[in-house]
Amino acid sequence: MSEQLQSHLVFSSGNSWYAVPADRAAEVVSFPELTRVPGAPSHLLGVFAHRGEVIPVVDLCQLTGDKGGETKRAVLLRLARGALALTASKVAGVSLVSGKLDPLGAGGVHQHLRGPAKAAANDVAVMDPEGLFEFLCQGG
């Protein structure tokens, strides 16, 4: 079933494009040198201080098994239970998303990515940010 969705921020990480509800995307940030956290999973690149808050940076490429180069930019999500920064190679801007909302996988991170969908002329995976956040809280 095709659906017209609310406004989403569309961005890429590595070779893949993602769409996250615009009201959850607080800003796009350039992050400084990160502080690694001992024992953290490899997709959790580290943390940085942002306006008095400690923000974790998640490498979407490592999380999803995609290929991608290094980036110092991230989309900062503000959710009810906390903040999270997701690495971003390119940011296409805010766009309406159309398509399906079927989970792109039965387990792991892909159950929190939905599609197939299109936005800003790209095939995108529509992110369920709250689900992704809970997934990461459980160790990813």
């Binding site: 690694r36 024992g39 959790l44 943390v47 201080a49 974790p56």
Partner: protein, 129 residues
């Protein structure tokens, strides 16, 4: 956010292990000694970053739990403990207390004894033991 958002640290031991930063509350450190390969079998903080061990300094708690780090300095000024992001709560075997902003950088603050136990569980037959 973690529960101890408004905690104050009365002093910390700022450490480095393989270029990474980590800190321990000074109140938890009873002894600081030089440590070399073949010395007493104590977990090395480098193991948390999958790095080979090397000689350094040994921090011991009053319960005898210890961690070896590359270098350290003692910061006596009090500082605010910044809460851990929720995705990191329970990190490093539950030893992560929060973060400290010092020397214009962010440092993870760890419970010394718990971090020692966490490291010991990583690789029981690891180098430097």
């Amino acid at each position: 956010m973690a529960a101890d958002a408004d905690s104050k640290l009365g002093g910390v031991v700022l450490c480095r292990a393989g270029g990474h930063r980590l800190a321990f509350p000074a109140s938890q450190v009873a002894v600081i000694e030089v440590w070399s390969e073949g010395g007493r079998p104590i977990p090395n903080a480098r193991e948390a970053y999958a790095l080979p061990t090397q000689p350094g300094r040994l921090l011991l708690s009053d319960t005898g739990d210890g961690v070896v780090v590359d270098t350290l300095e003692v910061a006596t000024e009090s500082a605010d403990l910044l809460p851990s992001p929720r995705v990191l709560v329970g990190g490093a075997g539950g030893s992560l207390r929060g973060f400290l902003s010092a020397r214009d950088q962010l440092w993870p603050v760890l419970q010394l004894a718990d971090f020692s136990l966490y490291l010991a569980g990583l690789e029981p037959s690891g180098a430097g033991r």
